[in-house]
């Protein structure tokens, strides 16, 4: 018996330590290098030389089957070998990139990065400014609003790959049952339609997830609201509870509290079932939504249609963005020229961008696909023969061009989930929740040393 306490204490100690290993990752001081001052543009000689020198690049990405595009690149530049590594998606991916950057070892040359996280990496000067490498000349190749997403204080920090302009996907059969012939053009009409759909069919006109800040942000984006700003240095602007934000949230709160919009968490089993079973009559979603639905709700093929989002005022034509990503070069890369060429080529050369659009179904950021009749002319049988790509290509042109992010969107989103998201799920007061969100963001920003505008 005498031994037991000691053994138990050791056990306790061991247990303590496992809880600590978690936090054992490095936080060594800042990174070296960094894009910073604009260097003189590189000569063509230097680029040719770099592309003809045997080089191995590492590319961290979660995009499925991206090997296809990389293969095209390698066929074009046989001296460059690219190692594609998938280190996880979302939070996990960024954690690993940050850890590798901080430790100064094992970081890749090229990384996949979503638009809203670019500034969290320029903040730490981890991304290479691609302008001196020739990225300045690419501006005309991409949709203007996307280009603004990768541009910061004159520097270009990533090459856009895909986007998610928001539209309205809806079930034509359910709408018809409710006596709605054309998709609602304004949010007032949308609310009226929601009531009809509920009364006639029992379905919800759509679902506003309680766990998806990115979708809600996209809807704010559409309304021309700029809740965030960042000057690229140490000043951030946070207006997450402005009257404009509250107006949009109050609209949704009304629909939620009347029981016309459900609030299931998205990308959960429950939510997938909701599409398959007709619980949701529609989805305000991004351009990647149509293909996604095709995989999720196979049984509803042919019953869907795509339209632009409802508008806040009649005659308006605006949209926001939800999702999409880009490829950036880390400042620590030893082969910046080759790395840049990889990031550029796969997202710029038509053979590669077309493949992204047609095989991985990424909604393109590059005009050479967006404006190609072969792409926009495609008819989707899932959408009853509608030219869905064309619809979303048009919507892409209406996305508000100047939306900015905070350099700590992972925290901003997590704080959203604990405040506004929670209130959505609880059918609660979204206005008070947005105040709480604002308070959290401001105190976090101040604690992290930012000046809050």
């Amino acid at each position: 018996m005498n031994k037991a306490p000691k053994a138990a204490l050791t056990l306790a100690a061991a247990a303590v330590s496992t809880s600590l290993v978690l936090s054992g990752c490095s936080s060594a001081a800042g990174t070296t290098g960094g894009g910073g001052a604009a260097a003189a543009p590189l000569g063509q000689d230097a680029i040719t030389k770099a592309l003809n020198t045997p080089t191995t690049l590492t590319f961290w990405t979660w995009v499925p089957d991206i090997d296809k595009q990389v293969k095209l690149f390698q066929a074009k530049y046989p001296k460059i070998k690219v190692k594609v590594e998938n280190v996880g998606q979302g939070l996990e991916h960024y954690q690993k990139v940050r850890t590798a950057v901080k430790s100064g070892q094992g970081a890749p040359d090229v990384v996949q990065i979503e638009y809203q996280f670019i500034s969290s990496f320029t903040l730490t000067k981890s991304l290479l400014d691609l302008a001196p490498y020739g990225a300045d000349d690419l501006e005309g190749d991409y949709v203007p609003w996307v280009w603004n997403q990768v541009k910061q204080n004159g520097g270009i920090y990533a090459i856009p790959q895909d986007t998610g302009p928001l539209g309205n996907l809806y079930r034509t059969d359910i709408m018809k049952k409710a006596g709605i012939a054309t998709p609602p053009a304004t949010y007032d009409e949308y609310a009226a339609a929601a009531q009809k759909v509920k009364d006639a069919t029992g379905s919800y006109i759509s679902n506003l997830p309680s766990n998806d800040p990115a979708q809600v942000t996209g809807l704010l984006w559409q309304a021309g609201i700029k809740p965030f700003s960042y000057d690229g240095n140490r000043t951030v602007g946070i207006n997450a509870n402005s009257p404009e934000v509250k107006k949009v949230l109050a609209y949704w709160q009304g629909l939620i509290q009347k029981g016309l919009v459900s609030t299931d968490g998205d990308f959960t089993d429950q939510w997938y079932q909701g599409f398959a079973s007709g619980k949701y009559a529609g989805w305000l979603t991004a351009a990647w939504g149509p293909i996604f639905l095709q995989g999720t709700a196979k049984g509803t093929a042919g019953k869907w249609s795509a339209a632009p989002l409802p508008q806040w005022a009649r005659g308006q034509n605006a949209s926001g963005n939800w999702g999409g990503s880009s490829d950036a070069v880390l400042a620590s890369s030893k082969n910046p020229i080759a790395a840049y060429e990889l990031a550029k080529w796969i997202n710029n050369d038509k053979s590669s961008t077309t493949k992204f659009a047609n095989e991985q179904f990424l909604f393109p950021a590059a005009k050479n696909v967006l404006e190609d009749p072969a792409f926009t002319g495609g008819k989707s049988s899932f959408f009853g023969g509608q030219q869905v790509n064309k619809q979303f290509a048009e919507i892409s042109g209406t996305v508000d061009t100047k939306f900015e992010w905070l350099p700590f969107m992972d925290y901003a989103y997590s704080a959203f989930n604990d405040t506004v998201g929670k209130a959505i799920g609880d059918k609660g007061d979204l206005s008070a929740a947005s105040d709480a969100w604002q308070t959290k963001l401001v105190s976090y920003a101040k604690a992290q040393g930012f000046t809050v505008k």
Binding site: V16, T18, N211, R234, T268, Q270, D410
Partner: protein
């Protein structure tokens, strides 16, 4: 149990001192434990020290790192999110652990009584949930709890009743208790059962001769004999409870409104490190949690020991 080999070793040492043979044996022994120590030190002790070191600093996204002394710890114990998480785990411990251990004890006694038919396969069956990885178990239960298509909800709806909301803010802790109980009853049962099997059968014979029935034997012989094993399971449960992580982190996806980022202390530390990018404060939270676990474990031990002592004095 381990007394025989140690006396032999002692006698050997006394008679000859350290012979070369002995030395060689010792060297071999060290060689054998070396791989363990290399991994133990590099994967456990070094990261542990490094975390302790990190927890003494404060870092900002702008402004970098500064030495902060114990400021992070002061912040931790005055941080409502952390304290609330601890409180939640205390509630969890007080309710769930007695239920789970009661169940485990009951099953162990039942199996040990030899009255159950097919005891061997039953023993395996009870243990199976423990073999299911916690992540898988939580996903499975998440499905069972589902408000629309979960089998329980469907059953309730089929008979015209309102389906219970397993994933609501008020019920999610109970749902988690259920998952953890399901998972660990078998595990604790095996520990208790093994202890029961180690009781010398002569005691039972003697008790029977004295006219004790099965209940009396269970109460007066079996229970006191397996008290160390029971204590062990309690300590394990203290540790397991306060470190709850899988369940909240996975259920967060399907019950986002009920679980926030500081629902349990461990989940909080994880989110601090990887979402808030505040590794230093996360390290401090982890150490503070460790401290709390050590204190609670110690209290549990003290109380059982004191009870034992008073029992012994009482019987004298």
């Amino acid at each position: 149990m381990g007394t025989v080999p140690s006396t032999v070793a002692r006698r050997g040492r006394r008679s000859t001192g350290l012979s070369t043979m002995k030395k060689r044996q010792n060297a071999a022994a060290y060689l054998f434990i070396l791989p363990f120590f290399v991994v133990f030190i590099s994967m456990l002790l070094v990261p542990l020290w490094y975390s302790a070191y990190l927890s003494l600093f404060q870092s900002q996204l702008i402004g970098g790192e500064t030495f902060a002394g114990l400021a992070n710890y002061v912040r931790a114990f005055t941080d409502l999110a952390f304290v609330a998480g601890l409180g939640r785990m205390l509630v969890f411990f007080v309710i769930q652990v007695p239920i789970m251990l009661g169940f485990a004890l009951f099953l162990a006694l039942a199996l040990d009584s030899g009255r159950a038919r097919g005891a061997k396969s039953l023993r395996l069956l009870y243990f199976v949930p423990y073999a299911v990885p916690g992540v898988v178990a939580t996903l499975m239960w998440g499905y069972l709890y589902g408000p629309d298509f979960g089998p329980v909800a469907q059953l309730f709806r089929a008979v015209g009743l309102q389906a219970p909301d397993f994933l609501g803010e008020g019920s999610i802790l109970g749902s988690m208790m259920n998952i953890v109980t399901w998972e660990y009853v078998g595990y604790n049962m095996v520990i208790l059962y093994a202890a029961l099997r180690a009781i010398p059968p002569e005691l039972y014979e003697a008790a029977e001769i004295d006219g004790a029935g099965p209940t009396r034997i269970a109460w007066s012989i079996k229970l006191p004999a397996i008290r160390p094993a029971l204590l062990l399971t309690v300590i394990f449960s203290v540790i397991g409870t306060f470190q709850l992580f899988n369940e909240p982190s996975l259920l967060d996806a399907i019950a986002p409104s009920a679980i926030d980022d500081s629902y349990t202390p461990n989940y909080y530390a994880y989110n601090l490190a990887f979402v808030n990018q505040d590794v230093n404060y996360a390290a401090a939270i982890a150490f503070a949690l460790g401290l709390v676990i050590a204190v609670v474990s110690y209290i549990v031990q003290l109380t059982t020991q004191r009870r034992e002592r008073t029992n012994r004095e009482g019987s004298r």
